[in-house]
């Protein structure tokens, strides 16, 4: 017997992410920095796989035939998901990769159009994701300790912030997708590069919200709310295009399909101010909701759009409302439909 003796620790996994020089090549883009993220739960680990497809079964036969099945790699897309502590630095970085604005007042505007995402070209913003410890060690040479995903593009972000979760700090769930085959390396574990560690320091406590600038519909008396939690989700579909050859199946590029799906939900205390924006639950008129403060570097999570859902929760001592706003503005304008700033 020769069972392998190595063990891979789940708790020991680390994640580094950086902007690639050209999409799919794992080099560092000029001026970019490699970051290690504060992951709260193990990220997705995906080895090279192929989608199994088969012909219809042969009439007269009662089993599937191996000869009539294939691993189809031509349309394979891998999803890499991870959960991180949403400090301002982490939020800015994720917004840069997802909505291409990470300058601190990170916003998605009505006139957004996706960048060209082409194999071998400098792409805003394709990233390489390294997971230290996600590989497997071989007996001879240990160059497979880490797993590496090249050519990743951000598909979705969900930001959850509640007074009674994760010590009242924001949590971000990210999903990246790639059409490139996972690779194995040892760069992060062996220290071939040293990423800047984002530890989550400075993450905004939930209690930082302030009645000035925390409101539904209008910023002023009569519209302020007392929130218990809020969440924002931003997502889009990314599909791969083509494949370069029948050996590596590298995509020719990606295309964004459909539109951005943006939603913000807030749980808040049901009180007399509700009367002032109740009409907008059904009138079709634009509504703005914001959680934040009025400090010099404001905490501002704001969504502009129309109400898509509203419900009342009877599970607490006091009655609470939940409002969901679907983010939308006039297209082809610089109007912000979602702002994420901490």
């Amino acid at each position: 017997m020769a069972i392998g003796t190595s063990v891979k620790s789940t708790q020991g996994l680390k994640l580094a992410i950086y902007h690639e020089a050209t999409m799919g090549d794992a080099g560092l883009n000029s001026g970019a920095v490699r970051y290690q993220l504060p992951i709260l739960s193990p990220p997705t680990i995906q080895d090279l796989t192929g989608v199994l497809e088969s012909t219809p079964s042969i009439i007269g036969q009662y089993n599937h035939a191996q000869n009539h099945s294939v691993h189809n790699r031509a349309s394979q897309m891998y999803e890499i998901g991870f959960q991180i502590l949403g400090s301002p630095a982490v939020l800015d970085l994720m917004c840069l990769y997802l909505i291409n604005d990470g300058d601190g007042t990170n916003a998605l505007q009505g006139g957004y159009s996706p960048p060209a995402m082409l194999n071998g070209a400098d792409t805003d913003y394709s990233v390489c994701i390294d997971i230290a410890g996600g590989g497997y060690e071989t007996a001879s040479a240990s160059v497979k300790k880490d797993i590496r995903y090249v050519g990743c593009v951000a598909k979705s972000m969900t930001l959850n912030h509640a007074i009674d979760n994760e010590s009242g700090l924001p949590v971000i769930d990210m999903v990246f997708v790639t059409g490139y085959a996972p690779q194995y390396t040892d760069d992060l574990t062996d220290g071939d590069y040293t990423p800047v560690k984002l530890t989550g320091d400075g993450a905004t406590p939930f209690t930082n919200w302030n009645s000035a600038n925390t409101y539904i519909d209008s910023n002023g008396a009569g519209y302020e709310i007392h929130p218990y939690s809020y969440s924002v989700s931003i997502s889009r579909e990314i599909e791969r295009v083509g494949f370069g050859d029948y050996t590596n199946y590298e995509p020719d590029g990606y295309a964004m399909m459909g539109v951005w799906e943006v939603e913000m939900s807030i749980d808040y205390k049901r009180d007399e101010n509700f009367d002032n924006f109740l009409a907008k639950l059904s009138s079709g008129a634009e509504i703005t909701a914001r959680i934040g403060d009025a400090s010099a570097n404001p905490f501002k999570i704001e969504c502009v759009g129309l109400v898509s859902d509203h419900s009342t929760d009877t599970g607490s001592a006091e009655l609470r409302n939940t409002i969901t706003i679907k983010g939308m503005v006039t297209n082809n304008t610089t109007a912000d439909l979602i702002v994420l700033s901490m």
């Binding site: 497809e53 012909t55 009439i59 189809n72 599909e239 083509g242």
Partner: protein
């Protein structure tokens, strides 16, 4: 009441085909083999049904007179359609359309002429003129479990090959016709059969030698990333008369009109497209080659582009080019070449 309790399952149907000895005699030509085909759906099952003619309603009557009816056994033509995986060991069924001899490949020549389908005419190895088809477990009559169809001529055939359906394997859809009544038999268990039900097919991702649209001044300008291709051939086959009123076998079959050969190819629109697009507006000869040398050829070698359509249903823009095969009847070049080993 005495309703029977037996039944036949659909999943148990099998199809066996062989090159016929003489047109309509149902025997296997010397030196040929019976093949069990990898059918992916039940084939057409004909039970010798024929049309009924009804005469004119007579003045003063209001119900179709029973004496003014006539069974049209004299014009019966039964179609047998089926779909198979185009496997890489059996001779291609396309030979039953092109009537040429080249081992396992079929060439449609510019000088194509129909076979001699006179009743009882001797078939030759090179010809693949007619086939015998057994459909097993399609019927039960005593110990007979097969319909045997003799004198079958291939009327239409299509090779279709796509990267994202049927596990990337090529599929052949074909239709044979016969004017000879089917017979109840129990032959297959005693035949020597080459089974094709578990053979491999040439996968789409194997087709790497050439993926090209033909007819451009720089040949490589026609190289394209292909998602699917197909080649079809069809002809109108009609029966002639009937020899007697016992079996109503035809005197012969004749082809009426042309053998129409068409093809299509769906590919990614890219920087080669503007050059290719010109073929849809000029009168240049074109076609396409999808090749894994020396095993797989889906070649439409001589054609005109008949249509060019952009498809917006995928992440990337795709184009489908449609072609019709053409030729010089005085020439001997190939219009199309099919091999799927």
């Amino acid at each position: 009441m005495a309703i029977q309790t037996d039944f036949q399952t659909t999943q148990n149907i099998q199809l066996v085909i062989g090159h016929e000895d003489n047109v309509g005699n149902g025997a296997l030509l010397s030196g040929q083999a019976w093949y069990k085909l990898p059918i992916i759906a039940p084939p057409t099952i004909n039970d010798n049904q024929t049309a009924m003619d009804f005469g004119t309603l007579q003045s003063g009557s209001y119900i179709q007179p029973e004496n003014s009816t006539g069974r049209r056994n004299d014009q019966a033509m039964w179609e047998i359609s089926f779909s198979v995986i185009a496997d890489n060991t059996l001779p291609t069924l396309f030979q039953y359309m092109t009537h040429d001899l080249s081992g396992t490949q079929a060439t449609l020549g510019e000088d194509y002429a129909p076979a001699n389908w006179t009743d009882n005419n001797q078939n030759v190895t090179a010809g693949k003129e007619t086939a015998v088809i057994y459909i097993v477990n399609a019927i039960k009559s005593g110990s007979n479990v097969e319909w045997k169809y003799s004198g079958c001529v291939l009327k239409s055939i299509e090779l279709t090959h796509s990267i994202d359906s049927n596990a990337g394997l090529p599929i052949i859809n074909c239709t044979f016709v016969t004017g000879y009544p089917a017979e109840l038999k129990n032959d297959v268990a005693g035949l020597t059969i080459t089974s094709g039900v578990n053979v491999a097919g040439r996968k789409f991702t194997d087709i790497v030698t050439t993926n090209r649209i033909l007819g451009l001044s720089t040949a490589t300008d026609g190289d394209v990333r292909v998602y699917s291709h197909s080649i079809s051939m069809s002809r109108d086959i009609q029966r002639v008369g009937y020899q007697d009123t016992t079996n109503y076998k035809p005197y012969s079959y004749e082809q009426v009109g042309e053998l129409e050969c068409t093809g299509s190819i769906t590919f990614k629109k890219d920087s080669h497209f503007p050059t290719i697009q010109a073929l849809s507006r000029n009168n240049d000869n074109t076609g396409f080659n999808m090749v894994l040398a020396p095993n797989y050829f889906a070649n439409l070698n001589k054609a005109k582009m008949t249509n060019l359509i952009t498809d917006t249903g995928s992440a990337e823009l795709r184009a489908t080019a449609e072609f019709k095969g053409i030729g010089d009847p005085e020439g001997s070049s190939s219009v199309a070449l099919i091999k799927h080993q």
